[in-house]
Symmetry: C2
Subunit: 222 residues, 2 copies
């Protein structure tokens, strides 16, 4: 089955393919086929040969372009990354509940779930997958941390409260169930996680040592 | 490289190998070699051929007995599962801190970390790995939930507080960093997770609807 072709031997020179041309169409077909295979078979049983067959391209084309399933999964990040938007409810707990319920809802979308499971599975063996996963999650945290900054501004939580840490606390119990223990998650788990993170934030537990605005933070033994 | 041998063709009939005999020695050698390979190469790059070579057995022997790397990783659970013991400090937060710091310490052990990373990576593609991972973590929760029952008994947290849920809340922010985002963890993260879980427990957030002892629990929309 393997063809010991020189890598790149038949790849057109850079710039010879127009955007939106055959190369772009191949990319779209392969990524769509990969996602369908991940949903059907799961990461562990997904094979590049089946992705290629489904996309109607030669397996060597896929190997030449991506090299491995990990790299295809990483490329899917651009297609699937979603932003969670917050209404700004005026209550940190309500905002966090919006975030937590969005995480649970995304987990109910087979395509999103299959891709994120693949990222989690690929991360330990692939620094590129690890980085892409961390980057997707950090981007989500950036957006949702705005809710924490608003809560600081209206005096609901202490100055110096770390937005990323509050969001981590909110989503962590959900990710534990979804991607590690495989336990079910629903609105009840989302709401409990949001309530717990909001309570700890109000108590000042996420004012971290060395916070940027110099708020008095307890020194923690590192 | 593949040999299309009938599976089990040269396996001795059940009962013909004494415990502690060659079969047991092979098992030990293969599991030790697998762990060493996982530590050196990570789950994604670990190959059964290299495990077999390291253990000094034929690759076919390993394939016949385990079938896949996932199954070897699952078998390692028996060798590596550790119990976290609690002193019973008389304070829920102190007990939870012991649990959280133990999780962080185990993560610093290369063998334990490599194995648990492999379990997390294998779980989405292998129901057996998923079940083994869930079982290891559930067992740890059983042990540590005793600290929560003691806190209920001395009136520190409300009756009906769910021990497993308190422990999940304690370890979730650590697992998120260790196995999903790949961010570092240390004693500061452990202590913060313990403080947050203890606070939420004292506030009654882990009194779940339908708790066994019939404590008044807020009904949660499912």
């Amino acid at each position: 089955m393997e063809q010991n072709e020189t890598p790149g031997a038949r790849t057109p020179a850079p710039g010879t393919q127009r955007p939106g041309g055959r190369t772009a169409r191949t990319r779209t077909s392969v990524l769509e086929a990969a996602l369908a295979e991940l949903v059907e078979s799961g990461y562990g049983a997904t094979r590049i040969e089946r992705i290629a067959a489904r996309a109607g391209v030669a397996a060597t084309t896929v190997y030449r372009r991506w090299g491995s399933l990990e790299n295809i999964v990483v490329d899917l990040a651009d297609e699937l990354a979603v932003s969670i938007t917050l209404g700004g409810t005026g209550s940190l707990e309500d905002d966090l509940r919006t975030v937590a319920r969005a995480v649970v809802r995304l987990n109910g979308d087979p395509a999103h779930r299959a891709w994120l499971e693949a990222m989690v599975a690929a991360a330990p063996g692939s620094p590129k997958a690890r980085e892409a996963l961390a980057s997707v999650l950090a981007h989500r945290r950036d957006v949702t941390a705005a809710a924490v900054h608003a809560a600081v501004a209206r005096g609901e939580v202490p100055p110096g409260t770390d937005g990323h840490e509050v969001i981590r606390a909110t989503v962590a119990p959900l990710y534990l169930r979804m991607y590690i223990t495989g336990e079910p998650v629903g609105p009840a788990e989302a709401d409990r996680a949001a309530a717990s993170a909001a309570l700890a934030a109000r108590a000042g537990l996420y004012v971290l040592a060395g916070a940027a605005d110099g708020a008095a933070a307890p020194a923690e033994a590192g």
